[in-house]
Symmetry: D2
Subunit: 381 residues, 4 copies
Amino acid sequence: MKAVVYDGPRNIKVKNVADAKIEKPTDVLVRITTTNICGSDLHMYDGRTDMEPGRVLGHENMGEVAEVGKAVDRIKIGEMVCLPFNIACGFCRNCEAGFTAFCLTTNPPMAGAAYGFADMGPYSGGQAELLRVPYGDFNCLRLPPEAKDPEKQLDYVMLSDIFPTGWHATELAGVAPGDSVVIYGSGPVGLMAALSATLKSARQVMVVDHHQDRLKLAEKIGAIPIDESKGSPVDQVMKLTGGKGADKGCECVGYQCHDPQEQEHSNLTMNHLVRSVKFTGGIGVVGVFVPKDPNAPEELEKKGEIAFDMGWFWFKGQRVGTGQANVKRYNRQLRDLITAGKAKPSWIVSHKLPLTEAPEGYKHFDARDKGWTKVVLRPAA
Amino acid sequence: MKAVVYDGPRNIKVKNVADAKIEKPTDVLVRITTTNICGSDLHMYDGRTDMEPGRVLGHENMGEVAEVGKAVDRIKIGEMVCLPFNIACGFCRNCEAGFTAFCLTTNPPMAGAAYGFADMGPYSGGQAELLRVPYGDFNCLRLPPEAKDPEKQLDYVMLSDIFPTGWHATELAGVAPGDSVVIYGSGPVGLMAALSATLKSARQVMVVDHHQDRLKLAEKIGAIPIDESKGSPVDQVMKLTGGKGADKGCECVGYQCHDPQEQEHSNLTMNHLVRSVKFTGGIGVVGVFVPKDPNAPEELEKKGEIAFDMGWFWFKGQRVGTGQANVKRYNRQLRDLITAGKAKPSWIVSHKLPLTEAPEGYKHFDARDKGWTKVVLRPAA
Amino acid sequence: MKAVVYDGPRNIKVKNVADAKIEKPTDVLVRITTTNICGSDLHMYDGRTDMEPGRVLGHENMGEVAEVGKAVDRIKIGEMVCLPFNIACGFCRNCEAGFTAFCLTTNPPMAGAAYGFADMGPYSGGQAELLRVPYGDFNCLRLPPEAKDPEKQLDYVMLSDIFPTGWHATELAGVAPGDSVVIYGSGPVGLMAALSATLKSARQVMVVDHHQDRLKLAEKIGAIPIDESKGSPVDQVMKLTGGKGADKGCECVGYQCHDPQEQEHSNLTMNHLVRSVKFTGGIGVVGVFVPKDPNAPEELEKKGEIAFDMGWFWFKGQRVGTGQANVKRYNRQLRDLITAGKAKPSWIVSHKLPLTEAPEGYKHFDARDKGWTKVVLRPAA
Amino acid sequence: MKAVVYDGPRNIKVKNVADAKIEKPTDVLVRITTTNICGSDLHMYDGRTDMEPGRVLGHENMGEVAEVGKAVDRIKIGEMVCLPFNIACGFCRNCEAGFTAFCLTTNPPMAGAAYGFADMGPYSGGQAELLRVPYGDFNCLRLPPEAKDPEKQLDYVMLSDIFPTGWHATELAGVAPGDSVVIYGSGPVGLMAALSATLKSARQVMVVDHHQDRLKLAEKIGAIPIDESKGSPVDQVMKLTGGKGADKGCECVGYQCHDPQEQEHSNLTMNHLVRSVKFTGGIGVVGVFVPKDPNAPEELEKKGEIAFDMGWFWFKGQRVGTGQANVKRYNRQLRDLITAGKAKPSWIVSHKLPLTEAPEGYKHFDARDKGWTKVVLRPAA
C-alpha cells in the first residue's frame, strides 16, 4: 500500500510499504478515506523528537471498515468509522477512568499510545491506504452513513484529534456558560478550542496569534482576534475584560512557541496566560511540551523546563490542567453535534490533497505559509 | 490592649496598642482566647515580604463575641467563634462562587484579605486581646459551648487556617478514597494535609521532610514518613507505589523550600511532585509562592519565577491547583468532625504560651527548633 | 403607592397601599420599572394555595435603586438592578452552599423566602411602584446602563426568575453538550428550559405541550414541538430518539398538570418523563408540587402524593433533582449572555401592560388564552 | 459441576449441571472459591420475579482463573479475581461513561446484565464450581495473592456486589465529609452503606431497622442504631439532628419493605426518607424496585407504582439517584482499602457454608432468622 513515510528531519516521502493487516483477534482493519496533517506532526517533521526514520505518519484518521478480527463483536465490515489518535485498551485502570490518552496497556511502561507518533508506541500511522486499529470495538467511533460523502468527511475526520483536543482545552480550563475565554494560538487546535468555547456559550472568546489568515478564521465563528504583533496580548486581554482578565485560558501552541519576531521562547504562552487570566481562573494546556529537547535554543528548554511565573500563578489561585486529549470522552457527543448540524469544524480546511502530495502539504503547513491552515489527505483520490 | 507587633525582620514585640473596636454596623468584636503563630507568619518575620513595621500580626484566631454592630443579625454577644484567616464580604462575585480567599471587596484592587498579613489589606491581626471582624455575620464560624474549654480550643482554633488549608491541599489535588497521596512538607499545614487525606480514606499517605520530630507526628496518625535526608524522596515514593507514583500530591512548603542541606531552591518541591505523582495525577499547592522576592538567593526567584519541569508535567497529563484556602468552604464540616470526635487536629500543638511570650515562640518556631511544631498563644492567660 | 393586591381566588385588584421603605440597615429600596406575572402566581390566583388576601403579589422584579440602608456597601442609588425571586441572607449554611432558594434566615423555620408568595415569608411583592429588598448587597444583581431602556428590560427582567429557573431545570437534569433533551411544558419556564438546553449545545431539544401558540415559540428557537394532543408524547419521543429515549428530561408544569382533554392528573408529567428518558438519564423538576392540596381533584394529590412509577424509575437507574431555582447561581452568567447578545429571553413576551391592567393580564394568562404567553407589567407606565 | 439451581418459589436445590466453559475468545473461566447469597436473590427465591426454574443462581462471586480465551490479554491463569455482579462489555456508550450496570451489549434490548438473575440476561450464576465470565479482561478485578486465604476472601468477595452497592448508595446520595447520614435498612447492603459513609467521614451515621441483630452490627462500626419498632424513625432522626433532618439518606430495602408489624408497604422507606432528610438533601436508592409485581399486596405496587410524597420532596428541593451499582466504578479503590487494612467488610458474615448447604442458607436468610446476617458459600469446601 502507499503510505507517508518519515525519512528524517523535513524529509517526507510517499512510498509503497507492506499492507496493514489484522494481527490480533481484537483488531479492526480500516481503509482510510481521509487523514490529516496535524500540527504535532510538525514536531516530528522538524526533527524535534526522536521519531525513527522509516515509520508511517498520521494520527488523524477515518475510513471504512475493511475487515474485523474474530473477537470483534460490535464493529461491522462496511461501516464508516473515525479513529481517536489515542490507541487504548479499554480495560486498564486509566482507560476505565476515562484517561484513554494514558492507556497502560498499549505502550508500556509509558502511559498512552498513538498511531505514527514519536514515543507513543510502535503503531503505524494512517497517512496510508490501510490502518490496523487495535482493540477495534473500543477504539472505533461509528459514523452515520452520510460519512461516505467526502465533503462530510471534512467534518467527521476532525473527531480523530483536533476537535476533541480543542474541546479538551476548554474542559481542562473549566470553561462554563457566560465565561470570558482567551486562547493562545490560532492554529487548528486553537481554532477548535474557540469553536468549543463558543458551543459552550462563553460570552467572549479571544484568540491570540500573529498570523493574520488564522485570526481571520477565528473571527469567522464570532471570536475576537488579538494580534500580538500589535502590542502586548496581556494588555489587550485586560482591556477587553475591564481590567479583570479572562475567566479561563487555553494554551494551544506548545513548547515551540514563537513571538511575533519568530523567536522561540518556550515559556511565552504559559506566562502570558497566568497574566491574562483572572484570580481563581483556570487554564487548559493542550499544546505539546516535552520532557527533554536537546535541540532547543534555550538552556532550560533542553531539560524540558520553563521559567514559569509560579509567584503570580499561586498568588492568583489559578488552576492548570494539561495533556493529550482523551478523545473518547468527547467524540460521541461532538459527532452528534456534527450530525445535527450544530457544529461544522471543517471551516478551517484549506487544502484537500491526494496522498501523493503529502510532502507538499507538510512543507507549506510547516512554514505556516499564508492560507495553509489545515491540510486533508485523501489516500483513495 | 496588648498585641504582638512586627517591628522589622526578626523583631517582634508585645506592646500596648489602641483597642480594636466596632467601626462599621456589620462588624463583630471578638475577645481573643486563642491565636496561633502560623508558618506563613515566618515569611513576614524573616523580612521576605513587604510587611509594614508597627502592624499587629496574627490570622489564626478564635474567641468570644464581645460586641456586635447594629446590622449584625446572626452572631450574638457571648458566643464562641472561630475566624477564618480570610476576610470576605460574602456578596462579591468571588465570594458568591465560594472563593472567599479572593474577595473583591475587602482589599481592592487585589483579590483577598487577611488579618495582620502583608499585601492582604489594612486589617489588624489577632495576636492581641481584641479583634475587629468585618462582615461578622458572614465571617464568624459559631462553635459549640464546649469551645469555652481551653483544651478544646486547641482543636477548634485550627479551623481558622491550617486544618482547612491542609484540607484545601487535598481538595486541589483531588484526593479521593483509595488514593495514594504524597505530601511534601511536614510542618503544621503538611500534617493537616496528612490528617485530611486520612479522613478522606486515602489508602496510603506519605509525608516528605527532613525534620525528624515532624515526621514523627505524621507517623502518629498512620502516615508513612519519608526522610529526604536519607535519599531521593522521588525514589522512595516510587518504591512505595510499585513504580507508579502517587495518585495525588500536595505542596505544603512554598517558595522558601530547603533541601536537607538547608539550601533554598524554590522549585524543589514542585519538580519533585511532578516526578512523584503518576500520569493523570493531581497536585494541590498551598505552600506560599510570591510574585516577586527581591531578597531571594536565586535569579529566577527574585522575579517570582521557578525553573519548572513543564515537559514531564504535560507529558504526564497532570493537573495542579493553587492558592490560599477558601476557609469557609470547609470550616463548618471540619468543625462538626471535631465536635463529633472524629478529628483531633490539636495533636500537633507543642507549645501553649501567654501572649507576652510570643517573641520566644516566633524565634524557636522560625528556627525549626526541635519540638517546636506548633505554637498557640493565649492573650487572656 | 399603587400595587397589585390579592383579594381571594381569581380576584386581583390594583390598590393604593403604604409605600415600601427601608426597614433595616441592610435593605435596599427599588423603584420597579418592570415586573412580570409568573405561572406560579396562578397557583395563588386560582386559590390553590393558602395565600392571605390583602397581600401584594409579584416576584419577577427589576428597577432602579431609590435608596440604600446604612450598612449597604456595594449597591448605589441610581443603579439598575434585577432581583432574584429568592430572598436570601448570604450567610446561613444553605446560602453559603449556594442554595439561596432555601435560605434558613429569611423565613424560619422553613427554608426559603420570596416576594409576594404563599408560604414564603411575609415579604411584599414587586407588582408595585416600590419594593423593599432585604440584604440588598447580596440580593441585588447589577445591570449594565443599557437596562434603562424599556426594550432591554424585557430581556433583563427574565433574570429574576424564569430564565434562571429554566436553566436550573437543565442543571438538575444534568444537560450536557450533545444531549437529547425532552421538556414537558411549553409555558414560560419550559420555553426558558428549551433556550437553556440550546445554549448548552444539546443536539436535540423536544418540547411537549398541547397549546399550539406556545409550541410555535419553542419552534422559533430551533426546538422540536411535540403536540401531545396528537398521540402519546412518550411514543413521539421514542420515535425521535431511535427508541432509546432522551438523555435528559425537564418537568416544567407542576402538580396542576392537565392532559390534552384538560383533565388534571398530578402524576402525568413525572411518569411520562420516566418513560421518555433513557436508562441512566437525569430529570430536573422545576414545576411546583405542594405538600398538601385540599382542593385537589384526586385523593393522593390532596395529601401531596402522586402515584409514581418507581419501578421503571429505579430499573432505569435514573436521577431526579427538584426544587425552586437558586437564582444567584446563574443570574450573573445569564446576564452576561444577554449583554453579549448571545441570549434573548424576551422572545416569549406577548403583552406589556401598565400596572393598572394587571387584573386583565392575570385573567387571560390564567385561562391560557391564545397568544397570552408572557405578561410584563410597567408600574411607571 | 455442582451448582445451586432455582426450581421455583422457595425451592432451591444443589444439582449436577454441565460445566461452565470458555465460549468466546474474550471469555475467562473462573473456579469459584467463595460466593454469597444476596438479599436480591431473595426476591427470586420468594417468587416475586419471573426467574425461570432450572437456572443457576449467584452473582456475588470470586475465585481463581482456570482458563482464558484467545483474545484475553490482561488476565492470567492462576490469578485470584473478584467478579462484579454486572456483566459489561466495556465499549458501549453506557460502559464508556462508567454505567456498567446498564451495558447495552450484554442484554439487549434492555440495559444491564448479571449472573444468575431474573431479567438480566441468560448468564448462569456463580453459586457453582465454575463460572464463565464474558469480556474477561474488562470484568475481572485482580486481587492480591493474599486473596488465596479463605479468611481474606470473606472481605474480598464483598467487592462483587454489596460493598460497592453500599458505596453507590452514598455516592447517589452525595455523602460528603462532615455529613449526617440516615440509612434505611440494616441488611447487608445497608450495613455496607453505613461502612461507606463512615469511610467518607460522615459525622453521624444512623441506621434504621427493626431487626436487633442487624442493628447491633451497625453499632459495631460506630453507627447509631434507630429501632423503628420503638417509635417513628422520622421523629428519631429529627431528634438526633436538632430538628433539621439528615444531610443525606440511603434506601437499602426496596419494594418488599416491611413495617415493624411485618406488613409490606412499598412506599414506606421512600416517604420516610423524604421526611428524614433536610431541605436540599440528597437520597440514594439501591434497594430494588420493579416495573411490575403481579403478586404484590397493594394495587399500585402491582403496576410498579408507589404513592410518593412528591409535594414535600419538591418543596424541600431534594435530589434522588437510583439503580444498580456500577461496581467497576468503585471496586479497585475499595479493594485497595481492604488490602491496606482500612476497610473490613467481612464483619457482617454470620455463616460460612459448603455449597451443598445452600438450601439451608437461603431458608434462614429469607426468614431473617436471628443471627443470619450474611451467608457465604464455599463450592470447594
